[in-house]
Structures are given as structure tokens and as C-alpha cells.
């Protein structure tokens, strides 16, 4: 059993007042709050460890490098990767996807196909459109069903020998659907296609075992898992990364530079040009340790309990429609109320201290699919409570009353 009160005490922002009200934070899908250990790790780096990594021979540089690389090892263990050099640090999930999509520009030709899905975040759509534009490859889209699940029959139809890559999200940031990625990966591999998973909404919410999953690439962001902004991870199987096209050139990613010929560093450094977000990476370890201490399975179980409770409560409000009712769902509830615009709801509950997200959630194709301008979205993290759900539901009811 998780001690939620004790967990909450570790997040200073949760005792903050917003608009004179206790903050009730349900915008965790956008970014989570940070525990004191993460804030301390970031501050402590600048106070006592600041130095550039992988460069100097001096004491501080060695210390910073050690701590930086420790995060890599921690992530390797956290996701169950085979090697630590399969962990590439990026600016975030978007940056990680762009690294892959950029590489595929030169790997694909006319006639090749990339499959994504209708529920992707814009950052898992646009890079592939750019990739297709440059390579001549074709983008195929797996449609979604009315309940927010992927149409797997249609996926089977789309998948062919022309498919070179399947890029889908693990969990939909708008619908909460947990996709059957094991199935997708197995089927894609049978056709000889690689698979990239956008794990931004999954890492820290459900247990991961990357080797068992057998994903070729998997991306996630630190800031959606209690870590700092500006840090993300691209996991790639060694065999996929070794000869993968380079992304950015610069310091750190080279072995020897001359005007005649430059040779490049080994994995993972050849994909990490320039001085990275050292403080962020070091603090990311504190976030992962925090998650590991609680246990991802325990987090998933508790969040599911909150999801069930919030879903039942919200359905009690007359005129509510939930978008995304998949059987296998994460702690995300997108909803609208008959005749009301989600912005109006969001604006009013904000005044009552409740932070929810409104809009298209960077998934405009989903909005088009359901023919709605946007939704209001509650997204849950482990520090949320049933009492907070009650406050949120009451705020929504009050907004409904004001607006009707």
C-alpha cells in the first residue's frame, strides 16, 4: 500500500494555493510536479558539482561525468535494456522521435511505408510527414474505433512488406488507451518492419520491460515522470543504433576531426552532440529512484483505482460524454458536457484551484475523428487523491451550473 499522504509531502508545490484555493493538480499528462529530491538534485549539481561532462581531467568534471552516466545506468535498469549505450539522452520525447524520423529520411525510398495511428500526438505525426516528404515514403494511418482503441483489423490490412517502420504511442495522451504494443511489435517484426513506441505517457505509469517488449525504439520524457524539463530518452536496440544515420554534429559526438575526414564517437555519445542538460540528467536519476522506491506496479494499481473512481463520479454529471473508453486504460479522462465548451469549463474550475487541461491536446486528428472542438482532460498522477477528485467533480458541477 502506498502512503499517499507521505508521497504528497515530498512535493512542495502541492501545498501551494492557486486563486486563493488549495491547488488540485490534474494536468499530469502535460507535466508532473517534482518531488523535493529532484529539485535538490538539480540545485545541488549547480551548487557543488557543476562541470562539463566527458571532457575535463579535473575532479569536478569526473564527478559530473560519473553522476551523468549513473543516470544512464539507472534508466537501463528501469526499462530493462540490455546495454547502457542503448540509452541516448535527448531534449525530450519530441526530440527523440525527431532523431529517428530524421535518420529514416535517408533510409527510406519511394514505395516504402510508415504506419502511425490516428491517436498520435502531433509530435509523432509531423516528424513522419517531414520524413515522408523528403524520402518519398508513404504515411499510413491506423484508424481508431469509437471506444478509442486502435482498429487492429485495419492495422493488419495496412501492414505489408512495404512497411518499414511502425511508430505508435504506448498510451494515448488524450484518450488514455493503452495500446496492444506487444501485438503490434510482433506483427511488424514478422513483416520485417521496425517499431518505434512513443512512451511519453507510459513510462512511470505502467511497468516496462523493453527487452521483453522487443521494441526497436522507445522514447520518453523526464518531465512527465517527476523529473526536470528538457531531458528525454531515446532507447534503441544496439543493432538499430550502431549504423543509424547521425543526427546533430558537434562536440562530444566525434572521435577525430580534421578537414579531410571526421570520425565519430561510439554509442551513445555519437547521438549526443554538444553539452547536454547535465543538471537535468542528474536530477532525472532522483526521479527514477523515487518511482522505483514506490514501485511502478503499485503506482499503476493506485492510479487505476483513482481512474475507476473518477470515471464513475464524472459519469454522474448529466450530459457528460467520455472520449476514450478502452478496456485497457491509463489514468486519463477526456470529456465534454452537452452544450458546453471545454474552455468555459476549464476557465471556471481553474478559479476554484483545479488545474485541468482543455483543448485538442496536440491531437487534432482525434478531435476531427470525434467531431469535437476539444475536450476537458483530467490526467492522474500517484500523488492525487479521491478527495481531490471530489473537489474537481464539484468544481465541474459548479461550472456546469454557471454556464447552463
Amino acid at each position: 500500500m502506498l502512503d499517499i499522504k507521505k508521497i504528497r509531502e515530498q512535493f512542495p508545490i502541492l501545498s501551494k494555493k492557486v486563486n486563493g484555493q488549495e491547488l488540485v493538480y490534474f494536468d499530469n499528462g502535460a507535466t508532473t510536479q517534482k518531488p523535493q529530491v529532484v529539485i535538490d538534485a538539480e540545485a545541488n549539481y549547480y551548487a557543488t558539482e557543476n562541470s562539463n561532462v566527458h571532457r575535463g581531467v579535473h575532479f569536478l568534471s569526473g564527478l559530473a561525468t560519473d553522476k551523468f552516466e549513473k543516470t544512464r545506468n539507472t534508466i537501463q535498469q528501469f526499462i530493462g535494456a540490455k546495454h547502457n549505450h542503448e540509452i541516448i539522452f535527448t531534449k525530450g520525447t519530441t526530440d527523440a522521435i525527431n532523431l529517428i524520423a530524421n535518420g529514416y529520411r535517408s533510409l527510406l525510398n519511394k514505395g516504402d511505408e510508415i504506419i502511425i495511428s490516428e491517436m498520435e500526438h502531433h509530435s509523432n505525426i509531423v516528424p513522419w510527414q517531414m520524413c515522408c516528404e523528403q524520402s518519398g515514403a508513404t504515411l499510413k494511418v491506423i484508424p481508431i474505433l469509437d471506444n478509442g482503441e486502435l482498429d487492429m483489423n485495419e492495422f493488419d490490412n495496412l501492414l505489408s512488406e512495404n512497411t518499414k517502420l511502425v511508430a505508435v504511442t504506448h498510451i494515448s495522451n488524450t484518450l488514455g488507451t493503452i495500446n496492444p504494443i506487444e501485438d503490434i511489435i510482433a506483427k511488424a517484426h514478422q513483416m520485417g518492419a521496425k517499431v518505434m513506441i512513443d512512451g511519453a505517457q507510459a513510462a512511470s505509469h505502467i511497468p516496462l520491460n523493453i527487452q521483453k517488449l522487443d521494441a526497436d525504439f522507445y522514447c520518453f520524457s523526464a518531465h512527465k515522470m517527476f523529473g526536470p524539463t528538457g531531458v528525454g530518452v531515446l532507447y534503441g536496440k544496439e543493432e538499430n543504433l550502431t549504423n543509424f544515420p547521425l543526427y546533430q554534429g558537434g562536440g562530444e559526438m566525434i572521435q577525430d576531426v580534421s578537414f579531410e575526414k571526421t570520425t565519430y564517437a561510439e554509442l551513445p555519445h555519437k547521438f549526443e552532440a554538444g553539452t547536454p542538460n547535465i543538471a537535468g540528467v542528474i536530477a532525472f536519476k532522483a526521479a527514477i529512484d523515487f518511482i522505483t522506491d514506490l514501485g511502478v506496479s503499485a503506482i499503476a494499481q493506485y492510479e487505476n483505482e483513482l481512474l475507476q473512481y473518477a470515471t464513475a463520479e464524472i459519469l454522474n454529471i448529466e450530459g457528460v460524454k467520455i472520449f476514450g473508453t478502452a478496456e485497457n486504460k491509463s489514468g486519463i479522462i477526456s470529456f465534454n458536457i452537452d452544450g458546453l465548451h471545454p474552455y468555459d469549463i476549464g476557465m471556471i474550475v481553474d478559479k476554484m484551484g483545479v488545474a485541468i487541461r482543455t483543448g485538442h491536446h496536440c491531437t487534432q486528428p482525434i478531435m476531427k475523428r470525434f467531431n469535437i472542438p476539444g475536450t476537458a482532460r483530467i490526467s492522474i498522477a500517484v500523488y492525487n487523491t479521491k478527495a481531490e477528485i471530489d473537489v474537481c467533480i464539484n468544481a465541474i458541477k459548479k461550472a456546469k451550473k454557471m454556464l447552463s
Binding site: 474552455y343 468555459d344 476557465m347 481553474d350 483543448g359 454556464l403
Partner: protein, 138 residues
């Protein structure tokens, strides 16, 4: 004929009577509900204001030397906000609209009531209204 400045003063006085955000919001909601409807033919893609999170259509025409604005939005609070802007700027001369100093927005705390993205929407609305006036002026 009331000037833009007179109307702004009136609005500031009205808002001074409200004790809290809820009354302000309720007022905006009421204004939104009362906003005269825009003619269907003007709810076009061209008349949509960019930069708003909800959809806002704005139409302007010149009658007897004055600019008449009509607008609509799918969000009621946005409609309330645009209703206030219309009250201030509609039926004024183009030259007055273009040079209007809309200090009432800060005075009634409209900007701070809105999130940053919404505030951008507000800026976009005002900009579009002034651009219409500018076009009619020339």
C-alpha cells in the same frame, strides 16, 4: 453619442461593483448569452480569428460612416469578452477605433482573469477589430 472613452469608464464602474471572480464570470457569461447573433453567412473561415483557443468569428461593416461589428464564438466566456469589446468599439468612427486606447481591459482585470493563451486571444480580437477599422478608414 457616447465616446469610446465614456463607454470604457462605464464598464470600469460596472466591474467595480463585483466582489469576486465568480460575479465577474457570471456577468461575462450573461453578456455572452445576450450577444446579438452574427449572420450565418459571416461565420466563414476567413472571419475566424487566429490565436484564440476557442473559435471566434468577427465581421465588420460600415454604415453611415460608422463601423458595426458582429461576432460569435463557440465558447460562452469568449463570447462575453467579445461582447464587451463590441460594446466599446462598435458604432464608432474608424479613426476613433484605430487610435483607441483600451485601458479598461487592465482596469477591470480582464487580462489577469484569463490565462496567457486566452490573453493572446484577447489581443488577437482587438488587433482584428482595429485592422477592420483601418481597412474601412482608407
Amino acid at each position: 453619442m457616447e465616446t469610446i472613452k465614456d463607454i470604457q469608464t462605464e464598464i470600469i464602474e460596472e466591474f467595480e461593483m463585483f466582489d469576486d471572480w465568480m460575479q465577474k464570470y457570471e456577468y461575462l457569461i450573461d453578456l455572452g448569452k445576450e450577444l446579438a447573433p452574427i449572420e450565418g453567412q459571416y461565420k466563414t473561415e476567413d472571419n475566424l480569428i487566429k490565436g484564440c483557443q476557442s473559435r471566434v468569428w468577427l465581421h465588420a461593416e460600415k454604415q453611415n460612416g460608422k463601423i458595426i461589428y458582429t461576432a460569435d464564438s463557440d465558447a460562452i466566456m469568449t463570447k462575453g469578452i467579445i461582447a464587451i469589446l463590441i460594446r466599446v468599439l462598435s458604432e464608432q468612427k474608424a479613426v476613433e477605433i484605430v487610435s483607441a486606447d483600451l485601458s479598461f481591459i487592465d482596469a477591470i482585470g480582464l487580462k489577469e482573469q484569463l490565462s496567457a493563451t486566452r490573453a493572446n486571444g484577447l489581443v488577437s480580437m482587438i488587433k482584428k477589430m482595429k485592422l477592420y477599422a483601418l481597412a474601412f478608414q482608407n
